[in-house]
């Protein structure tokens, strides 16, 4: 084993080790954040689907409208 490193030299190794740990956590959190945004998109898509379904069902339930009146036959001018 080598003799203990002086503080100025050892500091970079200790900082490096703790930075690696911090970086791992940060990468994990970033990946989870992207997953969360995907879940949010999925929720929005489902909400839209439900809304579309709801409006479609309302249209089906509404009483049938009377058929539009047939256009009047134009009288041919008598020659």
């Amino acid at each position: 084993m080598l003799p203990a490193l002086p503080l100025d030299e050892a500091g970079k190794y200790v900082a490096g080790a703790y930075l690696v740990f911090l970086l791992l956590i940060l990468i994990y959190v970033a990946i989870m954040a992207s997953k969360l945004s995907k879940i949010e998109q999925e929720v929005v898509a489902i909400a839209e689907l439900v809304e579309r379904r709801g409006s479609g069902a309302d249209a089906e339930k509404a009483p049938p409208r009377p058929p539009p009146a047939a256009p009047r036959a134009r009288k041919e001018p008598v020659k």
Partner: protein, 220 residues
């Protein structure tokens, strides 16, 4: 506590501070691998998918921590021994073997399309690999050639009070971080699968729980 409470090590000096992140991470990762094996055994016993999911997520987080263990250990080795990696050292090589063993867990899962078969094979793998972890650890402790320091050495009197307290706090912190990550991952996976199922159901798909495409992750 690591920097202001724990005293400087007489032998290694300031470099020894790496110990408080490296060792708790290694212990939690190894315990996580064993816990993954236990969850896998529960899956084989009950055939409930939630146990397969727990096993998968526990191994997943443990592998992430294992990457941290290898990197921080390598940095500590460079500062302490003058080399980034020592191939003659049983502790280092055995941990690398455990890591590489678990790195094959995802390819194994991904290679199987049938979800039931995937869960079964992955569970058998997790149990065998989980049993290998403590056996490997014991074998390494019995090895003669040894320059890696022992954390729970009893012959040398163990750690002095302030070192031990800081280490225990770091270990508890790492364990809590591990549990939080597992809970986070499980919640994310549950939400994703439930939403996909709901979307398919709303879209009028008969087979609403079937995922499109192959996936290594278990399906709820």
């Amino acid at each position: 506590m690591v920097f202001f409470y724990a005293p400087l090590d007489a032998d290694q000096g300031f470099v020894q501070k790496i110990f408080y992140v490296h060792v708790p991470m290694a212990i939690v990762a190894l315990v996580g691998f064993v816990a993954g094996g236990i969850c896998a055994a529960m899956y084989l016993r009950t055939r409930e998918t939630k146990w397969d999911m727990r096993s998968y997520v526990t191994i997943h987080i443990s592998v992430i921590l294992a990457v941290g263990v290898l990197v921080t250990g390598s940095i500590w080795a460079r500062a302490s021994w003058g080399h980034w990696w020592v191939w003659d050292e049983p502790m280092l090589v055995s941990f690398l073997i455990v890591f590489l063993l678990y790195a094959t867990y995802w390819p194994l899962r991904f290679s199987l399309e049938d979800k039931e078969k995937q869960a079964r094979y992955a569970s058998v793998f997790a149990i065998v690999a989980g049993a290998f972890v403590p056996l490997n650890f014991a074998a390494v402790r019995m090895a003669e050639q040894y320059i890696h320091p022992e954390t729970f050495a009893t012959t040398t009197g163990g750690m002095p009070g302030k070192f031990a307290l800081t280490f225990v706090v770091a270990l508890i912190g790492m364990a809590l971080l591990f549990i939080t990550m597992i809970k986070y991952e499980m919640a994310s996976k549950h939400a994703t699968f439930r939403l996909r199922a709901l979307r398919r159901k709303l879209a009028g798909d008969d087979d609403e729980l079937t995922l499109t495409g192959r996936s290594a992750a278990p399906q709820l």
